[in-house]
Amino acid sequence: MAWNEIVCTIFLALGCVVTLTGSVGLVRMPDFYARLHTAGKTDSLAQLLILFGLVFVTPGPVDEIGGWLIRVKLLMVGMILIIAAPTATHAITKAAHLSGLKPWTKTDPGGEPK
């Protein structure tokens, strides 16, 4: 196994673990806001980790422009995701808040829109 494959595997594994924590949180959290909290954050990080891992195993020589074309494209996708995903989470949360969804608390475990 070459060094770049090892690095890629580490990044991919990290990404998978983070996604898994997000999925567990999505199932276990009590209300909408908390679920979005886990899903939004972990998704952004995991996508970034996975894309960054893939940069290391992209075919193409390192000293030529052809190989870097794909690597730079992958990093650009990562840049877009790091801006777009949190914004989408923010928009969804704000929309829920504006439409009157109350967050869950221990004393008031309702959390239904009024």
Binding site: I80, I83, T87, H90, A91, K94
Partner: protein, 402 residues
């Protein structure tokens, strides 16, 4: 089981689950979102099959714009589906089961996925691959078929052909074929049972009719081989846009202010939108222009452009969009796209070729003429598609602000 099959099985299970969920869910919003999820899953299936152009279209049209338009429509509808009494409708169930069984029976005749002996790999694709554009052996433009490739060899369907062994696991024949020697996919045809399509009319196209001269074979098929089809598809979209305008647009009364809801307090959304819109538009133009080289083209790029404008309208309000792109301009541009497409065809006539025979555009280098013609045509498609999508969105939004 290969990795591809495992991934495909998982994806198709998810697709089935989503389809069932779409039927079962009562909330129409959830149903619209699930349709988007379904499209994205299908896009992944296409990617798994290495058909990037289809995946791109599915993601852009199915996952992107149709979700926006569906939700725009839902604003006029109640939130929930009407409650129906659930009971089995026997004739419907039997019809569905029979249709499904017939479809499954039909797939039995299809070649296995990735089978090198599938008819498509023996027939159209080799011809297309044998005439490539670009630089091969320092020659530019349309290339003649390589030595040893006889396009008429498998046009005599007497069944007495040799080359490919019957055993599909025996791949040694490929080493001696032109694939290995020339680096292009031209199999040595044919054994009985592996003969290409022999329907009358299907194999009678002259080889020259196949405009496989630009790097992306899908675009070459779409704009060259099936140029008429694509032109009339564009016309269909244009007609849809025009009918929508005639059905929904009402003369606006003078002095009546447009009600708008610009999200003035949504600082994050405004900033991110302002930041990303130039890149969305740039990406749309890139997709249209790059259509002849890689996945993409007029349909996908046009949808991406329309999404950029729709995002602008959603965050800054429709009056702001109308200042950038008044309805009069979008109406005119809708027609201009179709005009560019058919005008390119007419220009080919003018230069002495056939209608939509792009190689006539550049007599010195037919390959470059093809590339130029297809780029022009893609721009025509892109302009029409984006403007029609924008018109649909505008009309839906106009309806709801009344």
């Amino acid at each position: 089981m290969t990795t591809i099959v495992i991934i495909d099985t998982l994806l198709l299970l998810l697709v089935t689950a989503t389809a069932i969920a779409i039927i079962e869910v009562r909330s129409l919003y959830a149903s619209a979102m699930l349709t988007s999820v379904y499209s994205l899953l299908m896009a992944l299936v296409w990617v798994n099959m290495h058909s990037m152009d289809v995946a791109f279209t599915e993601a852009a049209v199915g996952g992107g714009i149709s979700t926006i338009l569906l939700i725009g429509t839902l604003v006029h509808l109640p939130r929930e589906e009407k409650k129906l009494k659930k009971r089995l409708h026997a004739p419907a169930a039997i019809t569905c089961a029979l249709a499904g069984a017939a479809l499954i029976y039909g797939t039995l005749d299809m070649p296995n996925f990735g089978d090198p002996m599938a008819p498509i790999h023996h027939y159209r694709v080799p011809e297309m691959m044998s005439q490539t554009v670009g630089f091969i052996n320092q020659t530019k433009g349309k290339q003649p078929a390589p030595e040893g490739f006889d396009p008429y060899a498998y046009r005599t369907f007497n069944g007495a052909v040799q080359g490919i062994p019957k055993d599909p696991t025996d791949t040694a024949w490929r080493e001696t074929s032109i694939i290995a020697q020339r680096g292009i996919m031209v199999p040595q045809v044919l054994t009985p049972g592996h003969e290409p399509h022999h329907e009358a009319g299907h194999h009678l196209h002259p080889p020259d009719d196949f405009n496989g001269h630009i790097p992306n074979s899908v675009t070459s098929l779409l704009a060259g081989y099936r140029g008429y089809d694509t032109m009339f598809e564009t016309t269909v979209i244009f007609t849809a846009g025009v009918s929508l305008i005639m059905l929904l647009r009402r003369p606006r009364r003078e002095g009546e202010a447009q009600k708008s809801a610009p999200m003035t307090d949504q600082v994050i959304l405004r900033v991110v939108t302002k930041m990303s819109i130039p890149f969305i538009l740039l990406f749309g133009l890139y997709v249209i222009t790059h259509g002849e080289l890689g996945p993409g083209g007029g349909f996908q790029g046009g949808v991406v452009l329309a999404c950029g404008f729709i995002l602008f309208a959603l965050v800054f309000g429709r009056p702001a969009l109308y200042r950038v792109l008044p309805p009069r301009v979008t109406d005119v541009l809708t027609g201009v796209g179709v005009l560019i497409y058919s005008g390119t065809g007419a220009a080919c006539l003018f230069f002495g070729g056939k209608f939509l025979d792009y190689s006539a555009l550049n007599a010195a280098s037919p390959g470059e003429g093809e590339a130029l013609g297809m780029t022009l045509v893609e721009y025509g498609v892109g302009i029409t598609v984006s403007m029609v999508m924008l018109t649909i969105f505008n009309q839906l939004a106009e309806e709801q602000s009344k």
